[in-house]
C-alpha cells in the first residue's frame, strides 16, 4: 500500500494491534487503544515521527491472537505488534514476535512471564505485571499485623500469578506469615456468597484476593452484602480503581485494602492533570489505568523512534532499552535488561472522602521497591531454558 511519510521525511512506523474487542475484557482494550491513539496524536502534533496502526480482535482467544499477529506481520507487514489483554495471548504473540524478530509491546497481558521467564529482546511491557503487583501487595501487607492469610481469586492466569507472587514475596519479607488455604472461583462467577461464607468459616486474619474486571465488581458487591470486612479484612489489587468503585456506587465495601498503579486523580501532579484533561477532551471520559499503559506505549515508541533517528526495528529496540520518559505518573523507564516498564505504585484503603467513597490513606511505593530484581529475572529465565 501507500507509505505515508512524516514531516521529517521518514517512513511511518506501522503498529499492528491485536487485542480483545469483544466480550467482557474489551473494556481494557478500548482504554489502551484510546490511550495509544492519544499518544500517537500528540507525537505527531509535536512534529515527531508518524505512527500508523491497525487493530484486530482476538476475542480473548490466544489462538486467534497469534493468527492475527501472523496476518499483521506477513500480510500487512507491520513493524511492531501491540496488545493483548489475554495473558496467554500475550505470551503466544510474544513467542511469535521473538521468532520473527518483530518487536511486540505488551500493554494488556499482566503475566510476569512476558518479561520474566519468557522474556526476550523483542518483547516490551508497558504495564506493571503480576510480579510487581505481588511485590507491592506484599510490602503493603507486611505493614499490617495480619499473619494467617487465606488466598482466593478468579481461576485464571492473572489471579494465580498475583497470588503466587504475593505469597512468595510475603514469605521472604516475613517468614512468620502463614497461608491457610486457597479458594478459586470460575471467571465470570456471578454469586460469591458461597465462597465468602466458606472462607469466613475458616477465620483467617486476612483475605487476599486476586481478581479483576467484572469478577472484581461482583466480588466486592458480595463482600459488602455479606458484611465480610467487619470480620475479616480483605486485600485486592485495584480495589479502589474507578473501574471498580464507579459501578459499585455507595455499595463499595469500606475498609478493603489494595494497590493501584494509576488513578486519574492520583498522583496529583500537573503532568497527570494535563493527561487527564487531554484524554477527557478526546474521549469524554476519565482515563483508567489501561489508558495509561496504551499511552505510555505510544510515547515510548514515538520517543524511541526519534531517539534512534531511524525506523529500523533493531535500532528502535536499542533506543527503547533503558529509555526514560515523562509520564502522568512521573518518570518511567523501560528497564534495559528485561524490557519491563518501571513505574511507581500506590497503596491505600477504600474509604470516604468528603462523603464520597474513594481511596484514602494513599501512599506511593517507588519503582525500585516493587520491581522484581534482575536476579529473580535471570533465575526465572534460566529455569525455563533448561
Amino acid at each position: 500500500g501507500n507509505t505515508p511519510t512524516s514531516s521529517s521525511g521518514q517512513k511511518a512506523v506501522k503498529v499492528g494491534i491485536v487485542d480483545t474487542y469483544t466480550g467482557g475484557a474489551s473494556v481494557y482494550a478500548k482504554d489502551s487503544l484510546d490511550g495509544f491513539k492519544l499518544a500517537v496524536k500528540e507525537i505527531e502534533a509535536k512534529g515527531g515521527p508518524k505512527i500508523d496502526f491497525v487493530t484486530r480482535d482476538d476475542e480473548f482467544k490466544p489462538d486467534k491472537a497469534t493468527s492475527w499477529a501472523k496476518e499483521l506481520v506477513m500480510r500487512d507487514q507491520v513493524d511492531f505488534l501491540a496488545g493483548t489483554t489475554n495473558s496467554a495471548g500475550s505470551l503466544a504473540v510474544s513467542q511469535y514476535a521473538k521468532e520473527n524478530k518483530v518487536p511486540f509491546i505488551d500493554w494488556g497481558g499482566m503475566s510476569d512471564k512476558v518479561t520474566g521467564a519468557d522474556g526476550h529482546r523483542y518483547v516490551f511491557s508497558t504495564l506493571p505485571n503480576t510480579a510487581i503487583i505481588g511485590k507491592a501487595g506484599a510490602v503493603q501487607i507486611s505493614k499490617t499485623p495480619y499473619k494467617k492469610i487465606w488466598f482466593a481469586g478468579s481461576d485464571y492466569e492473572y489471579g494465580h500469578s498475583v497470588i503466587n507472587n504475593l505469597w512468595s514475596n510475603l514469605q521472604t519479607i516475613d517468614p512468620g506469615i502463614q497461608k491457610m488455604g486457597e479458594t478459586w472461583w470460575q471467571v465470570g462467577e456471578t454469586d460469591f456468597t458461597p465462597y465468602i461464607n466458606a472462607i469466613r468459616s475458616k477465620k483467617p486474619d486476612l483475605l487476599v484476593v486476586g481478581t479483576g474486571g467484572a469478577d472484581m465488581v461482583a466480588f466486592m458487591k458480595a463482600v459488602k452484602a455479606t458484611g465480610l470486612v467487619q470480620d475479616i479484612p480483605v486485600w485486592a489489587h485495584t480495589c479502589y480503581d474507578p473501574a471498580t468503585l464507579r459501578p459499585l456506587g455507595d455499595q463499595a465495601p469500606i475498609g478493603v485494602l489494595g494497590t493501584n498503579p494509576y488513578l486519574y486523580n492520583y498522583p496529583d501532579t500537573e503532568a497527570n492533570k494535563a493527561f487527564v484533561a487531554a484524554f477527557k477532551k478526546e474521549y469524554n471520559r476519565e482515563p483508567a489505568a489501561f489508558a495509561l499503559y496504551g499511552y505510555m506505549a505510544g510515547q515510548f515508541l514515538g520517543q524511541a523512534i526519534e531517539k534512534a533517528g531511524s525506523t529500523d526495528k533493531e535500532k528502535i529496540i536499542d533506543a527503547l532499552e533503558g529509555l526514560t520518559i515523562d509520564t502522568p505518573v512521573g518518570k518511567a523507564t523501560i528497564r534495559k535488561e528485561d524490557h519491563q516498564v518501571e513505574i511507581p505504585m500506590s497503596y491505600g484503603v477504600i474509604g470516604k472522602v468528603d462523603g464520597k467513597i474513594g481511596a484514602v490513606d494513599l501512599h506511593t511505593l517507588s519503582a525500585d521497591e516493587i520491581m522484581p530484581t534482575l536476579d529473580d529475572i535471570q533465575k526465572a529465565r534460566a529455569n525455563t531454558k533448561k
Binding site: D155, T183, T190, Y195, A198, A214, A218, P247
Partner: protein
C-alpha cells in the same frame, strides 16, 4: 466445620439454585413444548440484566429502580422473545434439531454484538435495593438479605409456574402441547400460538433471572455463555422438558457447588461438570421423566 456454617452454606446454595431454576425453567419449558434447543436463552438472560440496569439507573439507582426493573425488564425480554418466535422460529419448527440449534446460536452471536453496540463494552452494575441490603445473622453466621430474598422469590416463581401449568386453561394447553402437538391442533387450538406463548414465557423467565442476578454482580458481556452451560446441564439432568426436574437439579447443582466450595475450595471450577457427569452416568435420561 461447625454445623451452623454448613446450614448457612446450604441456604446459600439453595438461593444460588433459585436463579438457576428460574433460568432453566424457561429453557426446559421451551424444550418441552417447542422441542427446540434454545441457545439464545443465555442471551435473553443477559439482555434481562442489561435492560434492568438501564431501567433502574434511569431512576438514578434509587430505591424504586430495582423494583421497576423487576417489573419491566422481564417484560421487555418477553416482547423480544415474542418477536424472535414470530419472526424466525416459527419458520423452522419442522426442521431437524441441528438446524434449529444453529438458528438460535446465530441469535447468540447477534445479541452478543448488539448488546455491545447498545451498552458499550464496559461492565455495568446496579445496586441492591435499599430494603434488601446487608445481611441477616443466622446461628452466628450471616446470610445476605438478598440471598434470603432469592430464597423467597424462587419458590414464588415455582409456585407461579405450578399454578399456571396446573390450574390455568392456558397452562393445561401448554402441557398438552408438550405431549402431543398435533392433537392439540386437532382439538381446534392453534398450537403455534401456544408455541409463541411458551417461548415468550421462557423469555420472561430468562429476563427475570437476568434481572434478579443483576444487583449481585457485574453486568457484562459473557454472562450469556456462563449461564447457558449451567442451564443446559440442569435441564438435561432434570429430564428434558420437565420443570420439576429442573427445580430438583437446580437445587442439586446450587447446593452441590456451595457445599463443594466448603470442602474443595481450590477446584470449584470442575464442580458443576462433575456433578452433571455423575448424575448423567447414573441417570442417563434425567432425574425425572422427560417429555421427549
Amino acid at each position: 466445620m461447625d454445623i451452623a456454617t454448613l446450614l448457612n452454606q446450604l441456604l446459600i446454595g439453595l438461593s444460588r439454585g433459585m436463579i438457576f431454576f428460574i433460568v432453566a425453567a424457561g429453557l426446559t419449558l421451551i424444550f418441552g413444548v417447542l422441542r427446540i434447543t434454545n441457545f439464545a436463552h443465555g442471551s435473553l438472560y443477559m439482555l434481562g440484566a442489561f435492560i434492568a440496569y438501564t431501567v433502574s439507573t434511569s431512576l438514578g439507582q434509587g430505591h424504586y429502580g430495582f423494583w421497576l426493573a423487576l417489573l419491566v425488564a422481564p417484560l421487555i425480554v418477553m416482547i423480544i422473545s415474542l418477536i424472535i418466535e414470530r419472526g424466525l422460529l416459527r419458520f423452522i419448527y419442522n426442521r431437524d434439531h441441528l438446524t434449529q440449534m444453529l438458528l438460535t446460536y446465530s441469535l447468540v452471536l447477534i445479541t452478543g454484538d448488539a448488546v455491545k453496540i447498545i451498552w458499550g463494552a464496559e461492565y455495568k452494575s446496579m445496586n441492591i435495593p435499599a430494603g434488601l441490603r446487608g445481611s441477616i445473622s443466622l446461628w452466628g453466621t450471616s446470610l445476605p438479605v438478598y440471598n434470603a430474598f432469592l430464597l423467597f422469590i424462587g419458590p414464588l416463581v415455582a409456585l407461579g409456574l405450578w399454578f399456571f401449568l396446573a390450574k390455568t386453561h392456558l397452562g393445561k394447553i401448554c402441557r398438552a402441547t408438550a405431549t402431543d402437538r398435533e392433537m392439540v391442533d386437532i382439538l381446534g387450538i392453534n398450537s403455534t400460538r401456544v408455541f409463541a406463548l411458551v417461548f415468550a414465557l421462557g423469555g420472561w423467565l430468562a429476563g427475570l433471572g437476568g434481572t434478579l442476578i443483576a444487583p449481585t454482580t457485574a453486568i457484562s458481556m459473557g454472562m450469556d455463555a456462563n449461564i447457558l452451560i449451567y442451564a443446559f446441564l440442569i435441564v438435561v439432568i432434570g429430564g428434558l422438558g420437565n420443570i420439576w426436574g429442573a427445580l430438583i437439579s437446580s437445587i442439586i447443582i446450587g447446593v452441590g457447588e456451595a457445599i463443594g466450595v466448603l470442602f474443595i475450595p481450590s477446584v470449584s471450577i470442575v464442580l458443576p461438570y462433575i456433578i452433571a457427569g455423575i448424575l448423567l452416568i447414573f441417570r442417563p435420561s434425567g432425574l425425572l421423566k422427560s417429555v421427549w
